[in-house]
């Protein structure tokens, strides 16, 4: 068991070392010399649009909830088909966000 574990560990270490070596080999000589050091404040501080985009994908999960006690159809076409059979009109509830999410 110990021998197998040691081989797995060595295999991982070798593959990591190999990947780093590859990465280092890919970088052309003199690439470091092209990096600008005198950048403006605007470049360092992220523009608002980028901040907003990143915040949106920052891992916030809107918790799922039951969309009330109403028996909702899956989509407008399904509601229309049911309406044609039952004679009841369609009630279409439109909103921003999703009714089955906590923050809507």
């Amino acid at each position: 068991m110990k021998a197998i574990w040691f081989r797995v560990l060595m295999g991982a270490a070798v593959s990591m070392g190999f990947s780093s070596a590859q990465a280092q080999e890919a970088k052309p000589l003199g690439a470091a010399a092209k990096v600008r050091l005198d950048v403006g404040k605007g470049k360092i501080e992220q523009p608002t649009e980028l901040l907003l985009a990143r915040a949106a994908s920052a891992g916030f999960v809107n918790p799922k909830v039951e969309p009330g006690k109403v028996r909702w159809h899956v989509d407008f076409d399904a509601a229309r088909a049911a309406s044609a059979k039952s004679g009841k009109p369609v009630l279409l509830f439109q909103m921003m966000g999703k009714l089955d999410e906590q923050f809507c």
């Binding site: 608002t48 916030f60 088909a81 369609v90 009630l91 439109q94």
Partner: protein
Amino acid sequence: MFSKNPVASFMTRYFEPVWESVRAVPIVRIDFGGGKVLTRTLHGNILTSVCTAEGHVLDALPGIYTETAYLDRLNQLRLMAQFTQQQPQAKRTEWLRSYHQRQAEALKRNQTGETFAASKFVAPITKAGIERPVEVVLVEPQPKATSEMPKEKPMPTNVAKDDVANWKALEEDTRLNESTRRRQIHELLADAGLVTPDKMKRPIYKDVLHADLDDPYLGLGKVLFETYPFVKEDAGR
């Protein structure tokens, strides 16, 4: 509202309900540190439309309502749907346009428009009467000076200050929805005639609910970016 039995059971009994998201709702999260995070939605708004099986909008309620007013209006809309079905098919569009025109004019004069009522006709052929199916009739507006809202259930007395403020805000929203916003919707429908919800969605959200769905920042762009000090620098990049 949809978690409350009276509303949920009314909707399921008299309609074929479906919900649809028109776009993502803006969410604001403020991390105050120390584990305190405030999460709120911004600028959300709703539209309740009643449509035929063919997918045409008969009428729509803009925004959020108190429970009593919502149920009252939904009842009117389901009776209206039934009344429309009673009209000859060839005359339905014309009737609908004319109805919305009259309702818009009544609201302009700050008066109650026409309402719908269910009536049962009992034909006494024998000692026991025979009931015909319910018919819906159009009731002419009563000569009142102001449009009347259905009486709300009184707010419970043992409520927190915040709930009182929310209740009052909801009542005020309902009043606005039933006056200015409903008039605008009647005008749009009087002009459009029989139209699908897709065609009405953008004009109603933009002009009635003041939430332009085509604006990625929903009208908040000026507030967010106008005072940003590096606008020119970013633009030049």
